[in-house]
């Protein structure tokens, strides 16, 4: 590591040249995906999959460490000028030659990010990336028999697995309202034609919701199979119960897409997580006052929403802007002005 000292010295000098900015602020202008930059990606294409789902092809920056099949990635996308972060499963195999990765997104009703990605995202757009993560992955040792149990967009992490690793005996049970709602349908049918996959589609509009007891009939040897299940909470709850009942719960691996439901209301219990204090707040008192009354050291300024001296991270829950009535829900990086915000349901303030 002899080169570290001169390199860091050279970097220090460069910082003196660019102060008060950082050298990276200038480098980002020309090379936002370079090694050493904050991790970003560039959208290179958006391919429609179904009426409301699309696959987004992303070229990740040089700092991308690669993923394991089944993992997800958090991405930060600017929607109407506001940066929003969401997690999506990676659907590309891990050894794609061109270094691109894909996520497949289903537009959910009122979903800001999903609708933006499916319908409005343009090739060339820069997005923010985190390193891939998640333990819904395949084991090192190949299981003899595999079952994939999926519903709706729950198929996305499993598709990453299917494309990545071939098994001798794979069965998939997939639920979707109608045939045309099955994401990756033609690719799945190609795999079936090549005898690489046995597939049962459950079309819930006509067949009704999948009764987990039907597995005995659809996949008679399900209990012997290493199973990966992903879909709505109802399906996963039923599966976990079923596997446990039969004493084979260690063969079941599930992935829950966090529903991210924030309870909004008028007032609520406010937690100041740094100081560990919890108090009840009504829906009309500024959180700054609530905190101060509870003895929490709150930064403050003008107390009327103009100086931004009181901004504080909102870790969980939702707050209401007392001036506009606008609701802000917690997301990573969201700061609120405590002097003009009141609790809109239970919330957690980082103080």
């Amino acid at each position: 590591m002899t080169s570290t000292a001169p390199r860091s010295r050279a970097w220090k000098l460069l910082e003196m040249v660019t102060t008060p900015l950082l050298p990276s602020d200038y480098l980002d202008l020309v090379s936002p995906l370079r090694a050493g930059a904050d991790l970003r990606g560039r959208i290179e294409a958006v391919h429609p999959e179904t009426g409301d789902a699309a696959t987004v092809v992303i070229r990740p920056g040089r700092g991308w460490r690669g993923h394991t099949a089944g993992q997800y990635v958090r991405i930060g996308v600017d929607v109407d000028g506001v940066r929003l972060w969401r997690a999506y499963s990676l659907t590309s195999p891990t050894d794609r030659r061109d270094g691109r990765v894909t996520i497949t997104v289903k537009a959910i009703p009122d979903g800001k990010v999903s609708n933006h990605l499916v319908r409005r995202a343009k090739p060339g757009t820069l997005i923010q990336l985190d390193q891939p993560t998640g333990d819904f992955v395949l084991p090192q040792a190949k299981p003899a028999k595999v079952l994939y149990l999926t519903a709706g967009s729950g198929i996305t992490p499993v598709m990453g697995m299917l494309r990545d690793t071939e098994f001798d005996d794979v069965v998939m049970v997939h639920c979707a309202p109608q045939p045309q709602d099955v994401i990756f349908r033609s690719e799945l049918h190609d795999l079936v034609a090549d005898k690489k996959l046995r597939l049962t589609e459950v079309h819930t509009d006509t067949d009704g919701m999948l009764d987990i007891a039907r597995l005995d009939e659809l996949v008679p040897d399900w209990a012997e199979r290493e199973t990966w299940a992903c879909g709505p909470a109802g399906l996963l709850d039923a599966a976990e119960e079923h596997w446990t009942e039969h004493g084979v719960q260690e063969r079941l691996h599930t992935e829950r897409f966090r529903p991210g439901i924030v309870v909004t209301g008028d007032g609520g219990e406010v937690t100041f997580s740094t100081t560990g204090r919890t108090v009840d707040a009504d829906g009309a008192t500024p959180l700054l006052d609530i905190g101060e009354e509870a003895g929490v050291l709150m930064p403050s300024g003008c107390r009327m929403g103009i100086c931004f001296g009181c901004v504080t991270p909102l870790k969980a829950g939702a707050v209401r802007d007392l001036r506009t009535g606008e609701i802000t829900e917690a997301e990573p990086g969201v700061l609120i002005q405590t002097c003009v915000s009141a609790a809109a349901g239970p919330c957690d303030i980082e103080r």
Partner: protein, 372 residues
């Protein structure tokens, strides 16, 4: 408030109605903030960085006079952009809604010797909350000048045209000293206050970095162009300081702008607060380029009503605000830059001399302290 109160014809109900109408203007802009606005600030930041890079690059050869001229002009403009349209507005939280941690009031640092954290306190909090309230808003004369007949005259004020000129040339240092409340804090008892010392050290660090960059590192990088580059950066800083000082003087100093007594803001309603901002600020009229180079502080009235709305929206807001001024028969103080600068300087000269005793008595002790 001086002489006759220009808002005396308004009833309390009218003032509250005015406040509601202004709130509606604000809500409209907030509801329509979006992609275009975000693209605007990103474009301005990127343009500023490129202009600064190119100008500094050209100055490496500033031994050649044309390179010196081009580089100095470019760097002056880049520094003005950094302070005005970018720094001032980001530090107001105008772009916090984008949730981009790189363009955020809590992370932004500007090309200025006053650390942004300290400036936010003295500017966003004190000046914008207590706009033009004698004894509360130190921007009124920056503690070194008398800017209203109501303020008590002192022989010290005879020199205020000179103080103001010196302040204009070294404005960023003036601001740093002002943010530190240097005059007050250098008194014996306060000098040792640990909080003050920590802030003073932060300013010292910032000054060292800024000076090192402008007057040592970049000249050294220029090799044989050392002296011309040094002169160029000094000139660019001087130009930036004179420009920002002029623009800022136009915001609250021109004739027609009202100042307020401390007592008058007790129990102030939202409508009254808005009204004070309207009467306490002045605009500069001019072209789009002029608005841009002032960081849209040419729309000072709109900025003071809505300090956290994105600056690129002030022009459209101004049309609606001006209509309200007319509706409520209030004077919208505006004029071209030379006229407003002249007006502000005229006031500085005029008030350097004593006037007949104040028309309205203001017994506030703070005010006397300020004048002393």
């Amino acid at each position: 408030m001086t002489a006759t109160d220009p808002t005396a014809h308004l009833t309390a109900e009218q003032i509250e109605e005015l406040g509601r109408e202004l709130d509606a203007i604000r809500d409209e802009v907030i509801a329509s903030r979006g992609e275009k606005d975000a693209a605007y600030i990103r474009k301005v930041i990127s343009a500023q960085r490129k202009l600064e890079l190119v100008s500094r690059g050209v100055l490496l050869f500033s031994i050649f006079p044309p390179a010196w001229l081009i580089g100095t002009a470019g760097l002056s403009v880049a520094k003005i952009m950094d302070n005005m349209e970018i720094g001032h507005n980001i530090l107001h939280g105008q772009w916090d809604w984008m949730r981009d941690p790189k363009i955020h009031s809590t992370t932004w640092e500007w090309d200025h010797v006053s650390p942004s954290e300290q400036w936010k306190h003295s500017h966003n909090e004190l000046h914008h909350t207590y706009t033009n309230v004698i004894g509360k808003d130190n921007d009124l004369g920056y503690g070194i000048m008398r800017v209203d007949e109501d303020q008590r005259w002192h022989p010290f004020h005879l020199g205020q045209p000179l103080w103001n000129f010196i302040n204009a040339c070294f404005f960023e240092y003036g601001i740093a000293a002002y943010d530190l409340e240097l005059g007050k804090n250098l008194q014996k008892r306060r000098r040792k206050n640990p909080e003050f010392r920590a802030r003073a050290r932060a300013v010292g660090r910032k000054i060292r970095k800024q000076v090192l960059k402008d007057y040592v590192i970049h000249p050294l990088l220029s090799g044989p162009s050392f002296l011309p580059t040094l002169a160029a950066t000094f000139t660019a800083n001087l130009v930036r300081n004179l420009w920002t000082h002029s623009v800022i003087m136009c915001g609250h100093f021109p004739e027609g702008v009202q100042v307020f007594e401390r007592r008058s803001i007790k129990g102030e309603t939202r409508g009254q607060w808005y009204l004070r901002q309207m009467m306490g600020s002045a605009n500069i009229s001019g072209s789009k380029a002029m608005h841009f180079m002032t960081g849209n502080l040419s729309h000072q009235i709109e900025h003071h009503l809505f300090p956290d709305l994105p600056s690129n929206r002030y022009a459209e807001v101004a049309v609606k605000v001006r209509a309200l001024f007319e509706k409520y028969e209030l004077e919208y103080v505006t004029g071209p830059l030379p006229k407003q600068v002249f007006s502000a300087w005229h006031k500085v000269f005029r008030l350097s001399l004593p006037n007949k005793k104040p028309k309205v008595k203001t017994p506030d002790r703070e005010q006397e302290l300020l004048a002393a």
